[in-house]
Amino acid sequence: MNFCGIELAHPIVNGSGTFDAIAARRAFGDELLERFPFSAFVSKTITPEPRPGNPPPRLWETPSGMINSIGLPGKGLAGFVESDLPELAELPVPLIVSVMGTSHEEFASLVEGIGSRDEVAALELNVSCPNVHSGLVVGESPEEARSLLSALRPLTSKPLIVKLTPNVHPAPIAEAAVEGGADALSLINTLRAVAIDPATGRPWLGAERGGLSGPAVRAIALNQVREVSAVVDVPIVAMGGVASGRHAADLIGEGASLVAVGTESFRDPAAGSRIAAELDEILRVASSA
């Protein structure tokens, strides 16, 4: 299949920040490469400077899901290009790199620095952070989203995917991002959530607030993909609690081109392969009916 000019073996990819292919290779060895579960690999979000991430605790299990507040730990742009990119280039699938800045200038340096690399097939823009100049979260403001995409679009020929948040009504943001030049959209990101420590009555997570994922959010993802696909014509990468081929097929039915697996990979590292096979069977039966 084809996604924004990139040839993919099947429609199942990973959600950014839910699978670290470098760490997984340490755990599983080269069998990971031989049985790579995704048709493209989406990196965790790269920021301009190194970040340690949020103080622990960072996780809380909820009914049918989990809350995380990881805080985008990473080596920064230079560290990513120097040490991670060569290892990610060894993966047997195209590489999509997620980036996040806090201003147009930071985003521009990331898009130019990473978009120019031959190892990179596409970029995903994580717009969940406030613009330091306006104070507005880019992904929550149509004007900010349109303006950012207009600024970044001329800087690279690679496809730009915008990751939408479920914490605001996504359709207006989706329309604005596409008007600005987005080639594709991905949704949903995690839902803002809080866990209370039963022992203290205070927030459990070190950063107090986190994001909810897992089967608990699947119904919300279905609705938001439906709403966004109704107003834009670009490809959609859909995600949110996908744990089976049926769940993936449902999202494709609502207008998705690709489906990302996230939290389910925590429970089964090879979940992507299983879901791709289940989806293939469902689509084959449907097309022969």
Partner: protein, 286 residues
């Protein structure tokens, strides 16, 4: 000592088969106030001591309130090759929805298993050039990985002294996993051994003349681990700690199991950079 362990370098990380696999539960027995359950891993390698597995029951995982949802991390307490695979033993105490399901596993049930994962214990000589023996300090359910480590060390002729501590009778067990009689026990309620902390026993041992000739290996509750770390640091004795942190995946994907590095320079991921860490790698074991 098993053939698998003999072929792998002591202390070398063993890679896991990719993905999770269904393993049959072969046994579930009481061990003091804890349970030891065994599974037959038909397709996995023999783990190194200190490595862990992510476990979830194939049925009944996610009860009426939707928990447990994530798999749970367990150090392997013992293992042996068997005709149809490797038998893995895990020590479990019922403290929540995940462990509550695991203690109730019945023979013949299926368990989802991913592993072995993480960094194992290192040989004493690798931790400290002068170390020829090991001191194993376990607390509560944390005695589990030390049992397998004692067997592996014994298999290559490295002597271990075993110190185990428990809070009370209900929260004790796993001593049978050590298969040796030379253990010193401490209990806070005095139901067996020394009344007090296992670190009381460690202090006596480390204040002896030959403290520098051993490396210390410890696993247990955070306060105990931190006491062990601090005692070893004060005396210049090398130690490794098998730590625990909330963990969603076990293979570096979720970034949940962050532990602050010594020197304030960010975090390590306990699942891939640990769970066994040198005492001087972390800011604190708390």
């Amino acid at each position: 000592m098993s053939a698998g362990a003999a072929s792998a370098k002591l202390g070398a990380r063993v890679a896991a088969p990719f993905g999770r696999r269904a393993c049959r539960v072969t046994r579930n027995v009481a061990s003091g106030g804890y349970r030891v359950f065994s599974v037959l891993d038909a397709d996995g390698p023999e783990p190194a001591a200190g490595q862990f597995y992510m476990l979830s029951a194939a049925r009944g995982w996610g009860g009426g309130d939707g928990r447990p949802y994530l798999a749970r991390a367990f150090s392997v307490a013992d293992c042996d090759p068997e005709p149809n695979g490797v038998r893995l033993d895990f020590l479990v105490h019922d403290v929540g929805p995940g462990t509550g399901r695991l203690v109730a596993l019945e023979e013949g049930e299926e368990l989802w298993v991913t592993g072995p994962l993480g960094r194992p214990f290192s040989a004493p000589g690798e931790l400290s050039p002068g170390a020829a023996g090991a001191v194993l300090v376990g607390g509560g359910i944390g005695v589990a990985p030390l049992a397998l480590w004692r067997r592996r060390l014994s298999g290559i002729g490295i002597p271990s002294r075993v110190l185990l501590g428990y809070r009370d009778r209900e929260r004790s067990g796993g001593q049978d996993l050590f298969r040796c009689s030379e253990m010193r026990i401490a209990s806070e309620d005095g139901h067996q051994g020394h009344r007090g902390y296992v670190t009381d026993l460690l202090a006596v041992l480390l204040d002896g003349d030959d403290a520098q000739s051993a490396a210390v290996y410890s696993c247990g509750p955070p306060a105990m681990l931190e006491a062990v770390r601090a005692m070893c640091a004060e005396r210049g004795v090398s130690c490794e700690l098998a730590m625990e942190a909330p963990m969603a995946c076990g293979f570096g994907a979720c970034f949940g199991c962050a532990v602050p590095l010594a020197g304030g320079d960010g975090y390590l991921r306990l699942c891939v950079d640990g769970p066994v860490v040198r005492g001087d790698e972390v800011a604190s074991a708390l």
